[in-house]
């Protein structure tokens, strides 16, 4: 059942919190299809529609492919549009993800991270959204329920930002975050309305007095210019995101950045890790810090755009860094986060030794002891300067 709280502290699951954020955003159209573990987002939102507390037109489509297609049709018609999915659902949308971004439609999606088949598995890993990393969507990752909730509002502003106009997905961990109850602080509806503002699309299919042709065919004489413009928009998304996060922090007191650092500044070794597993890693860091060990963490919040310059600056001078990926690129050269972070550090004069550990696929637990073991490995690497295994699966 959908919650009816209006403000203040409330215990909510990640899915309920995100559905509540959608209620507060009150999009013009939501087209969605159920899939574990994101189903509850759509269920909760459906009851908001049934109770008439939103003015949204809900389109309960027959597949995720049609969900994204309907989102595209609605966004092209000038509507503010949202959806939610996971895993196979995101995979089925794959074709349309590229079309949404290529048509510069600022659709916002909650993606509850779940493993991809085969074998079929409904639990958390990041192979779904990592598979969509080149689809031209802004990708924002969330450690907690609070952050997933907050990211939804920021995603709307970033996607619709005049210098961006790209779709955005907010990612959070299936079950670990989507189904866990956390005590979070809600904004009130008025605050949300003021923060996100009215959506004013530049063009709309419904403006029949000014007809537009959208999705025209392009040949080699123009295609690359469109892609170049899109790429430039993704570059601008970085500054736009910083601007939006600053405004969010100023209004509501919760500060966010392109990535989060935890006890990183004076650290010799660090773990780079996404989403909920960062919380587990922080516990390990606190334990090791008590023993006087200089360890820290960097948690990317934005994977698209990838804040490579800022990240290189933050990791400069570290002796050894482990990137932990909850997805494998199946390239025999490590996970997606590793490949990009390692590349980002390449031009540093004094670059850290780096290792990649693939963990937690299909919902396998990542525990404090796993983080501690990685820091032990990092200690060895920084002492000896040698790397025994560059890429390795852990939590096996």
């Amino acid at each position: 059942m959908a919650i009816t709280a209006t403000r203040g502290q409330t215990g909510l699951t990640g899915n309920s919190a995100v559905a509540y954020a959608m209620k507060q955003i009150n999009p013009d159209v939501c087209a969605a299809y159920p899939i574990t573990p994101s189903t509850q987002v759509v269920e909760d939102f459906s009851s908001y529609v049934a109770d008439g507390v939103v003015t949204t037109e809900l389109v309960t489509v027959e597949s995720e492919h049609s969900a994204m297609s309907a989102c595209i049709g609605a966004a092209a018609a000038g509507a503010r549009v949202m959806t939610a999915t996971s895993s196979q659902g995101l995979a089925l949308m794959w074709e349309m993800l590229y079309i949404a971004s290529g048509m510069r439609l600022p659709i916002v999606m909650a993606n509850v991270n779940r493993a991809l088949s085969a074998p079929i598995n409904i639990h958390c890993d990041h192979s779904d959204s990592m598979g969509a990393r080149d689809s031209g969507w802004v990708q924002i990752y969330s450690e907690t329920v609070q952050e997933a909730y907050d990211n939804m509002f920021m995603a709307v502003r970033i996607a619709e930002h005049k210098s961006v106009l790209l779709p955005a997905m907010v990612c959070f961990d299936g079950f670990i975050t989507s189904h866990a109850i956390e005590n979070i602080s809600l904004l009130d509806d008025q605050e949300v309305r003021q923060f996100i503002g009215e959506y004013r699309p530049a063009v709309s299919l419904l403006d029949t007095d000014h007809p537009v042709t959208m999705g025209a065919m392009t040949l080699p004489d123009t295609y690359i210019e469109f892609k170049h413009q899109q790429s430039e928009a993704m570059k601008r998304a970085s500054a736009a995101s910083v601007e939006v996060m600053k405004d969010f922090g100023k209004r509501f007191g919760r500060e966010y950045g392109l990535f989060e650092t935890y006890r990183l500044e004076d650290a010799d070794t660090a773990i780079v890790i996404l989403n909920s597993a960062a919380g587990t890693t922080k516990v390990a860091i606190d334990e090791l810090r008590k023993q006087g060990r200089k360890v820290g963490l960097l948690r990317p919040r934005f994977f698209r755009p990838f804040p490579w310059k800022e990240m290189a600056e933050a990791l400069k001078g570290k002796k050894a860094v482990a990137v932990l990926d909850r997805a494998d690129s199946m390239n025999a050269f490590g996970g997606p986060v590793f490949n990009e972070v390692r590349s980002a550090l390449y031009d540093l004069d004094n670059r850290p030794k780096m290792i990649n550990r693939i963990y937690g696929l299909g919902g396998r637990d990542y525990k404090v002891k796993d983080a501690l073991a990685v820091f032990e490995e990092l200690a060895k690497v920084s002492e000896t300067g040698g790397i025994e295994t560059l890429v390795k699966y852990i939590t096996l």
Binding site: D28, V29, A31, T55, T56, E57, V59, T60, V61, E62, S63, H65, S66, A67, S69, A70, C71, I72, G73, A74, A75, A76, A77, G78, A79, V81, E95, M96, I99, M103, S204, L205, L206, D207, T208, D209, H210, P211, V212, T213, M214, G215, A216, M217, T218, L219, T222
Partner: protein, 311 residues
């Protein structure tokens, strides 16, 4: 309904100068349908001849708002646009003020019978207020004449070629109109561009009825049929006069045949001028012609038996 004279004075919503082939059946169909809307209309098109031939950037043949997103999803894309319309209308946020807008999705037989069937079924079941129009030219013409589930029996296509052993497509075509009717939508019809007045009336009806409506329209293709461009409209008429492509409508479930030829023409009259059936006229394939004729007769009898019935 407007007379031809009146139609000729209306502004064309689909301009000339597009790149569809000479003799293509699609442009007259699209022009008649857009005129039948009689007011603001928004359209989408599945990937295919119509999309490619009308929009090579920076040109467009569309004088109405138009969108193409992908191949299999014209019905889903128009669902979204129509949902946005409902939402924004309700909120008083329509650009340029409140108005009635019609929605049309165009798809070829490949984009409708095959890859787009699921999206079509979903949109029909949800009952969006739109017309889905399939221009059925009987193969994937845009990609070079590959067989679709709408391809006629024994037709030679690039993926069902007539060879030494196999004589073209071996299967009867899917009866999409019947599948659509099974969705219990308020209106479904088959039409053909040679009968502009029947096509226009059906389009006007489909666009004035609230809910999801469907039209399946025979669309001659000189390229894929290996026929003369100047024969297209004649061939469209022959497809109807031979009862290969009956004109009928199903309104609120009741079937009505729109046209019964006074004298049913033999199927070979339609097959002969089309190169895609050339192999059937070899003496050793006479049996296949008989088989084809028999099946057309059967289907026509079946339809006649349904006349006036509630499906």
């Amino acid at each position: 309904m407007a007379t031809l004279k009146e139609l000729s004075k209306q502004q064309e919503l689909f301009s000339g100068g597009h790149r569809l082939c000479a003799g293509c059946g699609i442009p007259p169909i699209v022009r008649l349908v857009l005129r039948a809307a009689g007011g603001p209309v928004v359209a989408t098109t599945a990937t295919g001849c119509l999309e490619v031939g009308t929009t090579i950037y920076p040109y467009t043949a569309w004088r109405i708002p138009w969108i193409h997103s992908a191949f299999e999803n014209a019905a889903a894309t128009i669902s979204g646009a129509e949902a946005a319309y409902k939402s924004l209308k309700r909120q008083g946020k329509l650009p340029g003020g409140d108005k009635e807008i019609k929605f049309v999705a165009f798809g070829g037989d490949g984009g409708t019978y095959d890859i787009g069937l699921q999206a079509l079924s979903g949109a029909l079941e949800r009952g969006h207020n739109f017309l889905y129009l399939c221009y059925d030219n009987g193969a994937y013409m845009n990609t070079g004449i590959q067989r679709s589930s709408a391809t006629p029996l024994f037709s030679n296509t690039t993926t069902s070629p007539s060879g030494d052993v196999i004589q073209g497509k071996q299967q009867w075509r899917k009866d999409l109109t019947r599948i659509v009717v099974a969705h219990n939508i308020p209106y479904a019809a088959q039409a053909s561009p040679h009968n502009w007045s029947d096509l226009s009336k059906k389009a006007e009806k489909a666009l004035s009825i609230k809910g999801a409506t469907f039209m399946n329209v025979m669309s001659p293709c000189p390229l894929g049929w290996y026929s003369k461009p100047e024969d297209s409209i004649k061939l469209a008429k022959l497809s109807v006069d031979t009862c290969y492509w009956p004109l009928y409508e199903v309104e609120n479930g009741v079937l009505k045949i729109s046209y019964k030829p006074k004298e049913k023409k033999p199927l070979v009259d339609w097959l002969k001028p089309q190169g895609r059936f050339k192999h059937l006229f070899k003496p050793e394939n006479a049996g296949l012609l008989d088989e084809f004729q028999k099946r057309v007769d059967d289907e026509w009898e079946r339809l006649l038996a349904l006349e006036g019935k509630r499906l």
